[in-house]
């Protein structure tokens, strides 16, 4: 790849990128708080609301591939600005949707697209191109920790907005807040893309895709990330119901989710920092094995509030900590020319896993009357993900001139 040698200052990339991710990840994380007000005001069913959020998650994963391609080709700035405007339209549309179909189009499709262009894959592309390899994993950890902080911060903030402004106005003001990403994106305007220029790359999109999908380590990383999505969303969505079934008070589930959010910030930062010193495949394997061990101990131990808090804290440390090492390995193997697109593909696998985790959790609960089988699946998948990450080759791929121009 022959990008301009000029790069953006590290502090600028981190300050602007991290704030955009904080906003973008945070705003959608509190959507559950709108469930009751919206379905009551519109006289819709929970299924209407849940369907739109499911569509949003799948759209986010699918659109991530294309927003990544566009960001690699035309620069992150244009993608972030467009998606910030789409985010605002999605939130305002969500506030004024008069039918479930329109709600799905706005809260589901528009916000899913907006997420794809304002979160990790696109921001990590900028980090990859502008931060030297000796600080890249750490910088990705900072951005991931910012996203985790956004999720942690925005739930009570949105609760406050709903209580003071009403659910509709709260959505409109959040829409206005997402436009803050526009001035922040100026800080991510890369010199290599100045004046509408597109940097010359040694591979086309198709060549990069062919190379990645024929490279076993990329497939292994995608498989691991699928498990990450499965476990995280299954626990995030179904754990409150599991606790309720076992006679826990509602406050225990709320505090558990808050602890997951708090420790997630530490975990993502630590994983990024450790990735600078240790083999990332070993960090990833450790995270997946540790999740399985944590779930086994949680199921074996007596279910008390303190055990729930301990489990939530440990899972919080392991929650999104897979994000920096996974993306840093992709950059290390394939380089940064197509990093956003390849990151988008890996994230798509994560979102399919998320969908399976939430859906299978509900389906198997309905079939068997308990979450036992899904917990066992989560344990086995964690072990498998740990095993498949161990043989990942982190060294840069060697390309012959013939390969690059084939």
């Amino acid at each position: 790849m022959t990008h301009s040698n000029k790069t953006l200052p590290l502090w600028q990339v981190l300050a602007c990128g991290a704030t955009i991710v904080t906003l973008s990840m945070g705003v959608r994380h509190g959507f559950g708080l709108w469930l009751q007000p919206i379905i009551q005001a519109q006289n819709w069913s929970r299924e209407n609301f849940a369907f739109a959020i499911a569509v949003q998650n799948l759209t986010w994963g699918f659109a991530g591939i294309f927003s990544g391609m566009l960001a690699d080709r035309f620069g992150a700035f244009r993608v972030i600005v467009s998606c910030a405007v789409i985010y605002m339209l999605g939130l305002v549309g969500m506030a004024f949707s008069t039918s479930p179909a329109l709600f799905t189009a706005t809260a589901g499709v528009l916000i899913g697209i907006a997420q794809a262009g304002t979160t990790y894959a696109v921001i990590y592309g900028v980090i990859g191109r502008n931060v030297s390899a000796d600080k890249r994993s750490w910088a990705m950890g900072v951005a991931a920790a910012a996203g985790s902080f956004g999720q942690f911060l925005m739930v009570p903030t949105e609760g406050f907005l709903i209580n003071t402004l009403g659910w509709q106005q709260a959505l409109v003001w959040l829409g206005v807040a997402t436009l803050l990403a526009v001035p922040l994106a100026i800080g991510l305007k890369e010199p290599g893309y100045a004046g509408g220029a597109t940097p010359q790359r040694e591979q086309s999109i198709l060549q990069a895709l062919r190379e990645a999908f024929h490279y076993p380590s990329f497939q292994l990383l995608m498989a691991g990330y699928f498990v990450c999505g499965f476990q995280v969303v299954f626990i995030g969505v179904h754990m409150p119901s599991y606790l309720k079934d076992h006679g826990m008070s509602p406050e225990v589930a709320s505090i558990a989710l808050a602890l997951i959010g708090l420790f997630n910030v530490f975990g993502t930062y630590a994983a990024g920092t450790l990735g600078q010193r240790l083999a990332k495949r070993k960090i990833l394997a450790f995270i997946y094995f540790a999740r399985s061990v944590a779930i086994v101990l949680f199921l074996l131990a007596p279910l008390t509030p303190w055990n729930v808090y301990l489990f939530a804290s440990v899972m919080g440390l392991l929650w999104l900590s897979t994000v920096p090492p996974t993306n840093a390995v992709v950059a290390q193997i394939f380089g940064v020319a197509h990093l956003s697109m390849l990151g988008g593909f890996v994230f798509f696998s994560h979102q399919i896993g998320s969908f399976m985790g939430v859906w299978l959790g509900g389906y198997l609960y309905d079939q068997t009357g308990s979450y036992d089988i899904v917990w066992y699946i989560a344990i086995v998948l964690g072990v498998l993900a740990g095993i498949v990450n161990l043989p990942v080759r982190e060294t840069a791929i060697v390309r012959s001139t013939r390969d690059a121009h084939a």
Partner: protein, 42 residues
């Protein structure tokens, strides 16, 4: 030495912000709202 002190201050500031957010979760009225919302989903 100066940069180490700066790093420690930054870490302390981050920790205080995180604890402040955690305190928002633990406010009884918000805890009740969040619990109602969570339970309302099931």
């Amino acid at each position: 030495m100066k940069s180490r002190l700066r790093q420690m201050l930054a870490a302390l500031a981050c920790l205080l912000v995180l604890l402040a957010v955690m305190a928002m979760y633990l406010r009884p009225d918000f805890l009740r709202t969040l619990s109602d919302q969570l339970w309302g989903c099931f």
